[in-house]
């Protein structure tokens, strides 16, 4: 039993509350804004009590944005779909390419293996724009600009190094002898990779995939430069809410709520994998 005094518990409660408020406030505020009109949002002083309206969500889902200057078409649902498609596909491709590569880097020390792994990581060092400008020219020549394939390809710059480096660490944490034990019992290396290495690194792969998904989802600048309206993800699409007749705070908030929902849901669902993944060290011994 832990002995804590009443005072200690109260202080701890207050501290926890403060921390939670600090981190949750923006999300809660945006959530509330998404149910308000621009008028109530921009009231001075701001008020907590308001009459909720679903108008923002309706506008987003129907794609008709009514402003003082008239009705605008908003491709938000299309953007949301683009985000889902681009992120999921990019992560899937990165996993397909990155996990076997990570295994190779972890298990086989070949000439230049460290250099190659580092080069892959170094893609993340360069400012995105530095990479993007020449890339845009090439992509236009190759006909890859404003295509899903082109975008997914560029997204590999985000996902692949991340997955490669995280998953490599997990593979390295698995004692090689566990795999040897399996191989000597009469299994090929590929069976060993599939039946031993992959399941053991599973939590790590899930964690890396999740992280890559979030990074891909939140990416802004690649899609801004390389995609036009019909291929844009929500991050870029949100720009459309800055209209000639003012910024549509209500719709932006609703759009944010809708666009963080998938990542939030995924993170909550995968939380146990993340925790499991981080405690993989317990496997050793």
């Amino acid at each position: 039993m832990q002995h804590t005094s009443l005072l200690e518990r109260i202080l701890r409660g207050i501290a926890l509350t403060l921390v939670v408020i600090f981190f949750m406030f923006p999300i809660v505020w945006i959530f509330m804004m998404s149910f308000q009109t621009n008028e109530t949002i921009l009231r001075i002083p701001p008020q907590l009590v308001f009459e909720p309206t679903l108008a923002n969500y309706t506008a987003l889902i129907t794609g008709k944005l009514t402003t003082a200057a008239g009705t605008l078409d908003i491709a938000f649902m299309r953007n949301l779909w683009n985000s889902v498609f681009l992120s999921v596909t990019s992560v899937a491709v990165a996993l397909l390419l990155g996990v076997p590569a990570a295994y190779a880097f972890a298990r086989h020390k070949f000439r230049g293996s460290e250099d190659i792994a580092f080069t892959l990581l170094s893609f993340r060092f360069a400012p995105a724009l530095l990479v993007l400008l020449p890339l845009t020219l090439y992509f236009q020549k190759l006909g890859l600009a404003n295509t899903y394939i082109g975008l997914i390809w560029v997204y590999q710059l985000i996902c692949l190094p991340l997955i490669l480096w995280i998953v490599r660490g997990y593979f390295e944490d698995i004692p090689a002898d566990i795999e040897y034990a399996y191989r000597i019992a009469g299994h090929s290396w590929f069976a060993t990779f599939r039946k031993i290495a992959l399941p053991l690194a599973g939590p790590g792969i899930a964690a890396a995939g999740l992280l890559a998904f979030i990074f891909a989802w939140n990416n802004f600048v690649f899609a801004l430069v390389l995609a036009s309206a019909d291929k844009q993800p929500v991050t870029v699409g949100a720009l459309a809410f800055i209209t000639s007749s003012g910024i549509q705070y209500g719709q932006i908030s609703a759009a944010i709520v809708l666009s963080i929902t998938p990542t939030l849901a995924l993170a909550l669902y995968a939380q146990r994998y993340l925790v499991e993944g981080l405690s993989l060290g317990a496997v050793k011994g």
């Binding site: 004692p175 002898d177 034990a181 399996y182 191989r183 019992a185 299994h187 090929s188 011994g285």
Partner: protein
């Protein structure tokens, strides 16, 4: 068909580039018969584990060849070598229970479930792990994991069973019991086993033959008795045996029909020429300097011996280890009774020429053991 379970011939192992990297195993050649238990004995880094891993196929053979049951295997992947192995780090599959871990090793053999269960049960009984069969590796102790890992290797039918430090984590009582059982198990089934160990008691108890390795070089490959009685060189002599063999450098001289082995500090062991057999005497007289060795239990206290001074006296419950300052070094002798000797007490020791091991001063190779030439 060959009667050899394993032939290693001229095997070199380099970590790093050939001829320039670390030379972990040097020109190793040995042949192991079917049904034999062989121990690779040596200190850490002597190349014994590298050797085992080359046989298993986890390390590449830099030069030379390895045959298992008459098949050249050194170019084959581990799966095709038909060897079983128990790993020093246990290497159990974490998501499987102990039972599944052991049964898993039989998967490739595709046996009916009842047979698998029977095999697991009998091995579990042998290793005293019946009560933890349903538990996961992370929830059992190191000793239990080690036994599970050993069980996983022994349960298989393979041409060769490789056991890497199979009992390092077990407590002494259990280790003694299991040694006997495992030896019986291996012999009963006619299995061939190679175990790697740095524990000479284990090697002596389990193995038919011991391969002593040092610095990547095989020093001696012989039965435990012969290794003890006829060590091939100074290294084996001092490495095997507990407490270790006493060794001293000596100048060979003769005076008045006696052979004098002159030790530092002006001491001398004097023997009648007739005390040695003719060939040993000739060898001795041919040399100026030699290294002599004597096992601690062969050193006797006597009235007319060479003087020494007691520097430590330990009663171990069944024998006394007496250390004495002697000839500029230290001499250990073992007595079976409790001996009350104060520190600093003068004693006199004598060594029967029958118990004298003589080594070449330069190469360390054995010249003679007692009355016989090496």
């Amino acid at each position: 068909m060959s009667a050899s379970a394993l032939i290693i011939s001229g095997v070199d192992k380099f970590y790093g580039p050939i001829d320039r990297g670390v030379h972990a195993v040097q020109n190793l050649t040995m042949e192991i018969g079917k049904g034999e238990i062989v121990a690779l004995l040596g200190s850490s880094g002597c190349g014994k584990t590298s050797t085992l891993r080359m046989i298993a196929g986890f390390e590449e053979v830099s030069r030379g060849s390895i045959s298992v049951a008459g098949r050249q295997v050194h170019k084959l992947p581990p799966v095709k070598r038909n060897v079983a192995m128990a790993f020093e780090g246990y290497s159990l599959y974490p998501p499987l229970t102990v039972r599944e871990n052991m049964a898993f090793a039989l998967k490739a053999a595709r046996l009916p479930k009842s047979e698998v269960d029977a095999k697991v049960a009998s091995i579990a009984k042998l290793l005293e792990i019946e009560d933890i069969l349903e538990r996961y590796p992370s929830s059992i102790s190191g000793g239990q994991q080690q036994r599970a890992s050993l069980g996983r290797a022994l349960i298989r039918e393979a041409d060769l069973h490789l056991l890497d430090e199979p009992m390092g984590q077990l407590e002494p009582q259990l280790r003694a019991v299991l040694r006997g059982r495992i030896k019986h198990f291996i012999k009963e089934r006619g299995l061939t086993a190679i175990l790697v160990t740095h524990d000479q008691t284990e090697a002596n108890a389990l193995a038919d033959r011991i391969a002593v390795m040092e610095g990547g070089v095989l020093q001696q490959f012989d039965t435990p008795d012969r290794i003890k009685q006829r060590p091939a060189n100074l290294f084996t002599g001092t490495f095997v045996g507990e407490p270790p063999m006493n060794v001293f450098e000596a100048y060979v001289g003769t005076t008045a029909g006696k052979i004098n082995l002159r030790l530092p500090d002006g001491l001398s062991l004097d023997y009648d020429k007739e005390a040695f057999s003719a060939p040993v005497r000739d060898e001795l007289l041919n040399r100026e300097r030699v290294v002599i060795g004597v096992r601690p239990y062969a050193v006797r206290r006597s009235k007319d011996g060479v003087p020494a001074t007691v520097s430590a006296n330990q009663w171990l419950g069944d024998q006394t280890h007496i250390a004495a300052d002697f000839a500029g070094g230290s001499l250990v002798l073992v007595e079976h009774d409790r001996t009350r000797l104060e520190l600093g007490a003068p004693i006199k020791v004598s060594i029967d020429p029958k118990n004298l091991h003589v080594f070449d001063q330069a190469s360390g190779n054995a010249i003679s053991h007692g009355m016989e030439l090496a």
